[in-house]
Subunit: 375 residues, 2 copies
């Protein structure tokens, strides 16, 4: 898999890049993918930011994992983010494991993988690196930035850092800073990895710990009701209970499968670094406790979206973003989508959600083009 | 610690005892503790059932762990379950690790600890064993059975199995069967233990896996809001972020501490067996899908209690018990206590909750004694 990753599309950022941790990096890769065609006016570009375990392969089949892209429900020809109309960009985040500068990359100074010698990165670092990609692509102003979960955090960070670089922003199922519960859940995953005796051992990977981390996270992506409807107390074999510790219930088998398959596609250290970045994210703190100051120069139109059954980034946390945007006079709409599918809803075929994105993008696009025609 | 456990109070159940799994056990210990004095009429006894990681030491200092009993907030002289007035009984459950027959006990046939050769037990097995203790103590009818979480499940199972053995029942923060989410959370803990390379290894214990299991469980015992109020994003050291993977946030340090101290007092295999019993519990299934039949012969008065911020056993699941009790014409009251402390509320000093128990017990006690005087 590593060899294939070497050949995927990327830019090399040559500038000296000072990370929030204080270290400076340079000549580092940022892997990316694009879908659709950039129009002549270069005003149809949508930057999609991925979540914790996502990557740049938003739609179609991921050439490395051979699995469907993480947002095929939303992105593609004729879909809500219509690649016949829009030019969709996505980059693997700093710290990731799909070709961007991350702990699985080789440190040229030692010729060994970075592993835990990789510097701790932040959401702000991720977004600043992605800005280089925009410049590389020659895009002065995006039509929209969007993303769910950690992708939404990047949306907020991007609009705050670059208030005139996007016409619109769609932060989905996210928060301006991680709650104590979310830090706790991430720490649980990190502890599972870091207490695996194979962690930091040469020629081995902490697969068991990473699988536990994934199982824990997966539970949080679904709602209690959604799990109940999908699995309830259904048994794996239709017969009776086995009175042992094999997977008796379908939910057990499902979770074990989620854990086992995840380790094939994800790097345990990337999991540590990216969850750390999420926990460190605190846009309010960046502006001395006043979140609305984060957006005070924004020229973007916002559409904030939450899901009714998302308990990881509940509606109340999404509303705090709306309140801050309102407080600085930004143009902001807010929709809570009814769904029993929990946090995962943003990745699923939830028609009301997809329609919201589609219509918001469409109206933004029309406004821009009508304005340009008028001018 | 094992030597001290040998000397604690217990009965030996000599009868052949057929477990739900089909195996028969005999001559096995059931450890217990009592508080207060059984009155002459033997009508002041309250059986408190403990939760997953509890034991028979309800109040005062646990002589083995040197920690406070798990329900000191509710049980003691002058407290809601007043040991000046009531005789409180609690027994370590089958499968436990505080002197009752469990995986840490020595198998006399092999002279080794049972470990995973211990039979899988159920809530019904636990309750049937506890009935022997009642007989041993010469108590024909309890004033009340009570308990929270898994303790509440035992309350439901007890009243169903022995409809005329208690005047009243107080199931707290529980459910008549585990939801898919709760099974998932327990499975997460079991996987953490079972993938620890020290599990089932002679002379070693899967401490790291058990600590992870405890951390995961601990998160579920608290509400999002409660965690936010208690910890928020407070840093461990007042300075700034450390840009590493040590505990930066107080919540991380707290969780690590919860995990680390738990392994000193609990057996990893007991954790497996008891969570399995909880997942298997399905009172509705015992009565062919009609929960109200579970209580059709009950003569007990019920007081069902839930907590508003408990997302592990939410109010809706407690209400299903109330609905079933109503459907069979039982005498049942229901209270949802407002608390932001999550599932843990039943162990904490929540005045409205403690008052509810106190008044319910008091009125039950007065009714019985007035009736007896009248007769």
């Amino acid at each position: 898999m590593n060899d294939e990753i070497k050949n995927i599309k990327k830019i090399i950022i040559n500038s000296s890049f000072e990370l929030d941790c204080g270290k400076t990096i340079k000549n580092f890769p940022l892997a990316y993918e694009t879908y659709g065609t950039l129009n002549k006016s270069k005003n149809n570009a949508v930057f999609a930011f991925h979540a914790l375990t996502g990557d740049q392969f938003v739609t179609n089949v991921n050439p490395i994992t051979k699995r469907e892209g993480w947002w095929t429900t939303a992105v593609g020809p004729g879909k809500a983010i219509d690649t016949n109309k829009y030019f969709v960009i996505c980059s693997n985040v700093l710290g990731g494991c799909m070709g961007s500068f991350g702990p699985r990359e080789i440190n040229p100074e030692t010729n060994k993988v970075y592993g835990t010698t990789f510097p701790v990165i932040t959401i702000r670092d991720m977004v600043r690196a992605q800005k280089y990609l925009l410049d590389h692509l020659g895009i002065k102003k995006l039509l929209a930035v969007t993303g769910g979960s950690m992708g939404g955090m990047q949306v907020l960070q991007f609009t705050s850092l670059y208030p005139d670089k996007t016409h619109s922003a769609i932060p989905i199922a996210c928060s301006a800073s991680h709650s104590a519960q979310n830090i706790a859940l991430n720490e649980l995953g990190r502890q599972a990895i870091m207490t695996d005796p194979n962690w930091k051992k040469e020629n081995s990977t902490p697969d068991k710990g990473l699988a536990i981390a994934r199982m824990a996270a997966h539970i949080t992506y679904l709602s209690k009701q959604g799990l109940q409807e999908k699995f309830g107390r259904k048994l794996q074999d239709k017969g009776s209970l086995k009175f042992g510790f094999d997977a008796d219930f379908q939910i057990e088998s499902y979770l074990r499968h989620q854990g086992a398959t995840f380790v094939d596609r994800f790097d345990a250290n990337s999991y540590l670094y990216i969850t750390r970045a999420m926990d460190y994210f605190d846009l309010e703190k960046q502006f001395n406790g006043n979140l609305s100051l984060a957006f005070k120069n924004t020229k973007s139109k916002f559409c904030v979206i939450s899901f009714s059954s998302d308990w990881l980034y509940p509606t109340i946390e999404n509303k705090e973003i709306v309140i801050a945007l309102n407080a600085c006079g930004a143009n902001v709409g807010f929709v809570e989508i009814n769904s029993d599918k929990g946090h995962d809803s943003f990745l699923l075929d939830v028609p009301e959600f997809l329609k919201t994105i589609s219509e918001f993008l469409n109206s933004t696009y029309n406004e821009i083009n009508n304005n340009e025609k008028r001018i």
